[in-house]
Every structure is written in C-alpha cells, then in structure tokens.
Subunit: 157 residues, 2 copies
DNA sequence: TATTGTTATACTCTATAACTATA
DNA sequence: TATAGTTATAGAGTATAACAATA
C-alpha cells in the first residue's frame, strides 16, 4: 500500500500530485491485477470449453445466440471489438463452418452474421462449460463477494 | 436460442443438463467483464504512458526496477508470463536498448536481465504516467470501492 | 535428471489507415 | 456526406513442443 489510507480523499489527491510514482507498487495496480485475473480465466476457459473456442470467439457466438443475426459492425460493438478485430474473429468462425453471412435485404451494405446449425449446436454445448468456467474462476469468492466484484468491474467498463 | 426441445424426454434431461447454461447472460460473466475492463485500462495506458510501452512491457521493466537484475525465468514468473512470452517481450525491449543481459557468474545457464541507463530513465518517466492510468481507470469508483475491488481481484489471481 | 534458456511454430487479439460500396 | 464493410499492415501476447546447455 503506497500511502496511508486514513483519509481517502487525501490519498487520492496525493496519488495524483507529487506521489504519482513514489510508492508505486506493480502488484497493487489495477491493470496488473486485471491482466492476471483475465489470464487465469482464459486458461480455465481453454481447459473446459469445447470447440475449441477462445473467449472472444465464444462471446461472438453467444451474442449471436442471444440476439439473433447482427451486422458485423453491430456484433463487434456489442462485444467490445473494433471492426477489424471482429472481421478476423468472424472469418475464422466462418472458415470452421460455425457462422455464415447473408446480405441484409434492408441495407445492402450490411452483412448479417448468424450461427449455422453446427454453430448453434456447439454454442449449446459450450454454454454450460462456460458457466463452469465462471464458477471455477469465482471459486475463491463467496456469493456476496462475487456480486460485489461484478458490480464494481461493470463500473469500470 | 436453443434448438427445439419438443421431444419430452430430451426436454427434461436438457432442463437439468442445461441448467448451467440457462440464464447464462454474457454481459454478466466474469470473463467478459474482465476482458472489457482490461481493455479499457490498456487503452488509457496507451494514451498516457510514454515509450511507448505496452502494459506488459511496463510490468517487466517496473519489476526489474523494483527487484534488480533477474534471470529471464524468474522475471517472467514474477509478472505471470511463461518463458516463451517473456523472451519475446525481453527481446523487443533489448532491441530498443531499454534492457540488456549478462551471464550469471554463479550459474552459467542464467541470463540476468537488467535495465540499461535508457531503460531506467524511461521507467522513471513512465511510472508517474502509469500511476495516472490507475487513477483514471479507477475514476468511477470511490476510494473504499477501489480497495474492495483490488482485494477481490487479488483473490482471483 | 532437472533446470534454464532458446527456437520454431501457430494462433489470437488489437489497432490504424486506406479503400470500396451503399444510403 | 455518412455509414458499413473490407483489406493491408503492423505489433503484441500467448502457448506448446522440441532442443541445447548447464547444474
């Protein structure tokens, strides 16, 4: 802990002012801890989820399953990926026969992305596994702690 | 959006087997939220930290600054990266003249990694910026919330 | 034999910029 | 002009596996 936290306001002010670097401890930084937590989650994900699907691929397919066909841009935004990233992820899934696209009759610029039968089948099998990933990731926490963590993290995103 | 569950037997079995997947909402999963939070942190990092250094590169240099010269493997473990990843990160930083290595006189297998003068100078400039990144990332939270979040996240890693 | 480090390979994610097609 | 999508390019992080050198 860098500085005395007896007074939160003072602590924050100090962190911004002169103390911005003094007392900086890597292991206590939000970015460092976030990376490690996400890394552990990803490892558990790779162990448990069939396909194999990466977390990002799963997100895309899960979203399509929840929301139905979406244009590539909307799909990407809904899972927080930019257009180029989305295209890469979608292309790989199309190549594996899990997704397909068709032109939007309402707007010729749009390519609606949707799950193929194989994709729908896989996501049905993957979702319970993904639920287990969540469970295992959160295993060190009690139920109230889990809710609190999710709530706090949501505020950051 | 599951497949049709009209078959009664299948439906019952599915009700239990699927229980982990029913009510699964992507946006509420710890992995999804972690990825978004880390992504936002990384974006802020890229905006503010000079070098430019990525969060991972910064971690490595910051650790060396805190702990002094380390063997490549120990360095990697201390920032939660495997040997191959560590090598990639270290090589890029060596290529930029920010790190250097020398053989450990005590153990010929080891390459001690250390900050060059340029590296030490850069990390001194980057640390205050990184402190600002932490501040900006956590801006939506009060001081007690920040402590709680860090504490909960630490339990996951 | 165990540890440290290297190398090769592969995949994935991310972003920027320039471009085409459509509204 | 604005939006949707594509393509090219570049840089990174991650992991596995096979290998060499050293202890």
């Amino acid at each position: 802990m860098p500085i005395s936290r007896s007074d939160p306001e003072t602590a924050v002010a100090a962190a911004e002012a002169d103390d911005a670097g003094r007392g900086y401890v890597l292991d206590e930084q939000i970015g460092f801890v976030l990376r490690r937590a996400y890394q552990r989650n990803s490892m558990i994900f790779a162990e448990r989820v069939p396909g194999p699907l990466t977390p990002t691929q799963f997100s895309v397919m899960c979203r399509l399953d929840e929301a139905g066909p979406l244009s590539q841009n909307r799909l990407g935004r809904s899972v927080a990926m930019d257009a180029a990233t989305t295209k890469g992820v979608v292309d790989r899934l199309i190549g594996r026969g899990l997704l397909a696209t068709r032109r939007d009759p309402e707007d010729g610029r749009r390519h609606l992305v949707y799950l193929t039968a194989a994709g729908a089948e896989l996501i049905d099998a993957a979702r319970p596994a993904a639920a287990e990933v969540t469970e295992e990731t959160l295993a060190p926490l009690t139920a109230p702690e889990r809710r609190r963590l999710l709530h706090l993290l949501s505020k950051l995103a």
